[in-house]
Symmetry: C2
Subunit: 213 residues, 2 copies
DNA sequence: CGATACATTGAACAAATTCAAAGCTGGTGG
DNA sequence: CCACCAGCTTTGAATTTGTTCAATGTATCG
């Protein structure tokens, strides 16, 4: 359990606190590809992602995944559903092998939530989630496909070459075809340059920003 | 200031608390149509909507409004931006005349946030916002236009006749034309029936749900 | 009555997806 | 070492979904 202390949230727990926490929780390991919960499920535990990467997505009427976010350890996952006792609003799948702390929420609430420190950190965790959702909403409602790609280049350009375009397309909720067409358009207009390893050599930040600002 | 007590948040404030609050805040009146803040602005105060209805929206690249939510009193508005010190992620406009409590956030945080009661209620307010955003995101990313309309009929059918279709269209982020076409399609398939006053007389919930579940 | 806003309908248009086909590339096994 | 295969990328054409533009119809309210 000692790695919990890495989490900002539990950083100032003392040994006594950690012991109490361990009494109301247990860890579970998952393999890459396994699902932690599905959209619509009822929450049973308060989850803390301890190891591995967890993808959050929705499924549309065509059974296509809509990518929302990828969580890195260590963080609470979907705590909203516990606090509000509502079904999960999205599904989650391990992108790598991983480990999760499953906390009995009601006991956690009774035992820990009265502490101002904890409360404040729960607030921080929730505002973090709100920020993420706000960004996703912005991306999916106000940006065009070109805007999404332009923003991704400016903010995550280094990922070109290290991850495949199909992956980037799925992060941006675009088809690989659309991404390819937009990139070749950007290339033709000299907004970007790629080297032979698909790495981004250059981008015209000013021109690209016009697509999303 | 006594109406603050109507807000669940301040319900159990005593007179002393209220006095302290009044020292770090002031109220301001707004007319219908006025803007409280624009997307991108830096937050200056923690706002509490005391009276009136406040519309939250984003603006897309075509300068079209994307409707997100309409707040009713009494509630915090955009508290996230204070907690995280980030720009407003959306704009807001009064739909009616209204009144707002402007609280100096830093002092509120210092004076009040240490109380577990307050913290817990801030958490509730944040989870409420997360739920709203989750619904908006669902509506805008996974539902089709038909799905949006079907869901609106089932969940808000009584509003037909009392508000105009243009208004419904803007709530659903559809054009009036699209809404009209979908409604006439639903009428033709006998999924819904309207009377001569545009009131919803009947809907086939089962059929309609197929569009959004 | 007439003006103004709202609703409906059709046709053209736009953005992105889907489907299909053809290159490319990198890794594996013979 | 090379050939081949599976997965990725690119490109074109068709399709889909919803918007835009334009015209017409319908209410409502001074």
């Amino acid at each position: 359990m000692k790695n919990l202390k890495q989490m900002a949230f539990f950083a100032d727990f003392n040994d006594e606190d950690m012991k109490r926490l361990s009494l109301i929780s247990k860890t579970k390991n998952y393999y890459k590809g396994e699902t932690l919960f599905y959209e619509g499920d009822e929450p049973k535990y308060l989850y803390v992602l301890l190891e591995g990467f967890l993808k959050i997505y929705k499924t549309d009427y065509k059974s296509h995944q809509i990518f929302l976010h990828q969580f890195s350890p260590i963080t609470f996952v979907a705590e909203l559903t516990c606090f509000e006792n509502i079904p999960y609003p999205a599904s989650s799948e391990f992108v790598t092998d991983g480990k999760v702390l499953k906390i009995e929420y009601q006991k956690f609430k009774d035992d820990f939530m009265s502490s101002p420190d904890i409360s404040f950190k729960v607030i921080k965790s929730l505002t973090g989630k709100l920020k993420i959702m706000s960004q996703v909403l912005h991306q999916e409602t106000v940006l065009t496909s070109e805007g999404k790609v332009a923003k991704f280049i400016v903010e995550n350009g280094e990922l070109f070459g290290s991850i495949k375009q199909v992956k980037i397309a799925s992060i941006l909720n675009l088809t690989p075809e659309t991404l390819s067409r937009i990139l070749s358009k950007f290339r033709q207009n000299n907004f970007v340059e790629f080297n032979e390893e698909y790495h981004l050599d250059f981008y015209n930040q000013e021109k690209l920003k016009e697509f999303y600002e």
